[in-house]
C-alpha cells in the first residue's frame, strides 16, 4: 500500500504531497523534511530504494524533481518504480513536455492526474491512453 506520494525539488520545496494515511500536520512536515534529507544525499551509485522508518521509499529523480513514493516494506520495488515512470510520462503528455513550473501553476490538475492513476493507496489505472483520454474529456468540460 502506498503511504504517501511526494514530489520535491532539490531545494526541498514540495510540489505535490498526496497522503494515503493519516498524519498530523506537524508529522507531515517532519516527514517531508526527513524524506528530503534522505533522498537528496543519494547519487547514481545508490539504489532507488531506501529504508525509511518502518516503510521504504521508492524514488526517482527527474531533472530537478524527486518523485518519491513511500510504500510498505513488503511491497515490490520495481513495481512502484515503474509506476512513478508511468505517472511522469502521463504528466509529460498532458502538459506537453512538463517542467516544474507546470506543476506549480496547475497544481489542481496534477491532483486530478494523481487521482486518476492512484487511489486509496493502490494503483488505479495503468494505461496511459485511457488516462489521457479521460483527462482530455475533463478538460473540455466547463
Amino acid at each position: 500500500m502506498i503511504r504517501f506520494i511526494l514530489i520535491q525539488n532539490r531545494a526541498g520545496k514540495t510540489r505535490l504531497a498526496k497522503w494515503y494515511m493519516h498524519f498530523d500536520d506537524d508529522e507531515k512536515q517532519k516527514l517531508i523534511e526527513e524524506v528530503h534529507a534522505v533522498v537528496t544525499v543519494r547519487d547514481a551509485k545508490h539504489t532507488n530504494f531506501v529504508e525509511f522508518r518502518n516503510f521504504k521509499i521508492v524514488y526517482r529523480r527527474y531533472a530537478g524533481l524527486y518523485f518519491c513514493i513511500c510504500v510498505d516494506i513488503m511491497d515490490n520495488n520495481l513495481y512502484y518504480l515503474e509506476a512513478i515512470h508511468n505517472f511522469v510520462e502521463v504528466l509529460n503528455e498532458y502538459f506537453h513536455n512538463v517542467c516544474e513550473l507546470d506543476l506549480v501553476f496547475n497544481f489542481y490538475k496534477v491532483y486530478t492526474v494523481v487521482d486518476e492513476m492512484f487511489l486509496a493507496g493502490e494503483i488505479r489505472e495503468t494505461s496511459q491512453n485511457k488516462v489521457l483520454k479521460q483527462l482530455m474529456s475533463l478538460q473540455t468540460l466547463e
Binding site: 551509485k45 545508490h46 539504489t47 532507488n48 530504494f49 531506501v50 529504508e51 518502518n54 516494506i73 513488503m74 515490490n76 520495488n77 520495481l78 513495481y79 518504480l81 515503474e82 509506476a83 515512470h85 508511468n86 489542481y108 491532483y111 486530478t112 487521482d115 487511489l119 486509496a120 493507496g121 493502490e122 494503483i123 488505479r124 489505472e125 495503468t126 494505461s127 496511459q128 491512453n129 485511457k130 479521460q134 475533463l138 468540460l141 466547463e142
Partner: protein, 854 residues
Amino acid sequence: MEAVNLLSSNKYTEKQIGYLFISVLINLNSDLIKLIIQSIKNDIQSRNPVHVNLALQCIANIGSRDMCEAFADDLPKLLTSGDTVDSVKQSAALCLLKLFRTSNDVISPNETASRIVHLLNDSHLGVVTAAVSLIEALSKKWPEEFKGCVSLAISRLSRIVTSTYTDLQDYTYYFVPAPWLCVKLLRLLQNYPPPEDPANKTRLLECLDGILNKAQDAPKSKKVQHANAKNAVLFEAISLIIHMDSEPNLLVRACNQLGTFLSHRETNLRYLALESMCLLATSEFSHEAVKKHQETIINSLKTERDVSVRQRAIDLLYAMCDRTNAENIVAEMLTYLETADYSIREEMVLKVAILAEKYATDYTWYVDVILKLIRIAGDYVSEEVWYRVIQIVVNREDVQGYASKTVFEALQRPACHENMVKVGGYILGEFGNLIAGDQRSSPQIQFDLLHSKYHLCSVSTRCLLLSTYVKFCNLFPEIKGHIQQVFSADHNLKNPDAELQQRAVEYLQLSKIASPDVLATILEEMPQFPEKESSLLSKFKKTKPQVEEIENQVAEKKQRPQAVMRDLSQTGSITGKIIDLDDTVTTNGSSNSGIIDIFGTGAQNGTAPADNMQEVLKLMLKPNGILFEDPIIQIGCKLETRSNLARLGMFYGNKTNAAFDNFAVAVNCPTQLTDQLVVQAKPVDPSVQGGAQVQQLINFVCLQEFTEQPVIQVSFNYTNTNGTQQSFSRLLYLPIFINKFFEPTDMAAEQFFSRWKQLNQANQESQNVFAAKFPLDNDAIKNKLMGLGSKLLENVDPNPENFVCAGIIHTQALQIGTLIRLEPNRQAKMYRLTVRSNREMAAKTLCALLAEQF
C-alpha cells in the same frame, strides 16, 4: 463553507475545486461534515459518471468513520451493478477498499463476495486492476468466502503472460503485457496455499515457468523501463514460488536467475537479487543452490559502494550459513565488521556471535571469534554476547585453559577494550590457575596485568575485577598480600560508589579472617550454567522485528535456528536428585547406628523396631529431611501444614540397581493416637525401579493434642549385591508432632506477660531444667525456635538472653494457645524451659520434646 457550496454546483470545474479543497484541507471534526456527506451522497446517485467519480475519489481520499457508515450500503451495490460505467467501477472498488481499511465491518462478505470475485473476469483491465487490490485485502480477512478468486486469477494471469504484445494494446508497457496487473495477481495468489486442483496447479506452474523463461530471453527493448517492468513481474513470481515452497525445480531455477543478477550492472537488480536470495536460502530445496554463489556474494560485500546493498549481502550470508561454510562466512563478516558502518555494527556483532556459537565444532574457534569481536567492535558488543561466551567457557572444561591463555594474551595488547577486561577478569578469576604454571603468566603477572587496567575502567568493571582479586586470594595465596593492599587502598575502601566500597571492604575482611578451607569453599569454581534459549537470539529478534516478520511470513513451516547450548552438564547422581538437603542432615542420617545387618542372611521376614527416633527428632524443627537411610533405600519427607491439617510427602529412593517389588507402606498408629490424629496414606506403586524415586502423600488431621508419633511400616523385596532376593521391613516413626500444627502469633510484651500470668495454674505449666546437648549459640537457638512453628518474639522478655515464643496449636477440637520461655544459663551450660498452655498435655508434650532439641 464556500467550498461546500461549490460542491453543490453543477459545473464540473467548480465541483472539482470544491472537492479538491475538501480533500486536502478538511478537518474531520468540523460541523460541515454532515453537509459534505450529504453533497457526496447526491453526487453518487447522479447520472453523470464524472460527478460520481469525483465523489468517490473524495470518499477514498478522506475515508473517515462517518463516511463509512453513510456509504457502506451504497458502495457494494454501485460496484457490482451492471449499469455502472467502468471508470466508476474502478473508483468504487478502491473506495470500498479504503473504507474497509478504516473499519472492517463495512462489508459483509456473504452476498457480495462472489460478485466482487467475478470482477476479475471483466474485460476492462483497469477494473480488474482495481478489483484485485480490493480482493487481496478482503481475502486476507475472509479467505474462505473469496476462495473462488484463485482460479479466476490464475486463468487471467496465464492469459496475460501468454499474450503477445499486440493483444493488450493499451496495457502493454514497453513491450511488457500488463505488468502491474500481473504483479497484483501474483500477490493475490500469495494469500492462498498452492492450488490443489490439478488443472489450476498446472496452469499456474506453466505461468511461472513462462515468466522465468521470458526472463532469460533476449530483451525486446534496450530501455531500462522494459527491463524493470519485466523484472518486477519476475521478482513477484519468485516471491510466489518461495511462498508455495513446493516445486524444487522452480526454486532452483529462480535461484539461478537471481544468481545472474548478482553481478548485473544495475545496482537495483543486485540489491533485489540479494534480498530475494535471502528468502530462498531458508528454503530447504534451494539452500544448496544459494550456497553456490557464496563467492560472488562475498565479493559484492567487499566491492559494493551502496551500504544498503552490502547490508543485504550480510543478511544473505547470515541466512545461508551452515556447517560447511560457517568458518568462512564468519571470517568474512569479521573482516567486514572492521570497516562497517556504525549503525549496523551492533546487529552484525549479534549475528557473528550467534553464528559462531551455532556452528562451532571446535570451541577454541568460538572463543577466538568472540574475543576478536570484542577487539574489533568492543563498544557494540552488548552484555549478552560476553555473558554468553563466559557461560560457554564455564560449561566446557576443554576450552577453559585455551580461553585463559587467549584472554591473557589479548589483555597484554596496548589498546584493550573494557569488555575485554571484563571477560578477561572473569575468566582469569575462575581459571587463571590453569595457566599459572607458565612463567610468562604467573600469578603475579596476571594480577599486575589486570590491575594495570583497573583505573581505566568503569565502576562496574572495577567491581568485577575486585571479585577476581578475591578469587586470586584463593587460587594464589602467595600474592594475597598484594591483593589485600589493593583492597585496603583508600580509593577502594572509601569509594563513593556503594557497591565498589562494599565489595572492597567485604573482600578485605574475607581475605583476612577466613581460613584457607573456608575461602576455598566460598570461592569455589562456578557451577555450570543451565541451558536456556540463547539470550542473543531474543535480543536479535528484538532489534530486527521487521526481518523477523518477513521471515515468519515466508517461512511459517520452517524452523528458526535455535542457538541452544549443547547439553554439557553431567547427569546428576541419584542421591543428588532425591531431595535438596543441607549437609548436616545427610551426614547425620547416614551414620545411622543400630541398623540390623540385613545382608547375606537369606530371606528374612523379621521387622526391626522403629528406631529412627533420632532422625525424627531432628525433623521436629524442620519441615524437610531424611527419615531413614541405608545402602538400599533412602526415605525422605517433606511436610506442609495448614491449621489442623498436615500433608507429608514421603520420598522413597531405591539406591540399588534392581527394582523393588511388593513395595508397601502401611500406617501403624498406637491405639491412643488414632483418636487424636487421623492418618490417611495414599496408595503407592508396588514396584520401584532401580535408581528411581517414588512419592507418597500421607494426610493428617489433628483432632486433639497428642503425644505419640504415628508409625509406618515399609516393606518390600529387593535384590542385594550378591544377587539374591531379600525382604526388607521396617517400622519408622513419622515426624508428626504437636508443634507441627502451630500457628505463630505475634504479640507485644504486655500482651505476652498478661497471658503468661493468666496461665498460672499448675496444670497449665510445664517446666524442665536440663543440660544443654548442643552448644549455646544464639543464632542456632533462634533458628530452632523458629523452626518450631511458633513465633519467636523479640524484645519481649526483659532479659535479652531469654527467648520467648507464642503460638496457637490448631486441633479440630479446639485451639490451644501456647507460650514458651527458654532461659539459657551459659556458665552452667543449662537451660530452663517453661511451657504454658491451656491444655496440660500439650504443655507437657512440648516441654519434653523441646528438651531434646537444645
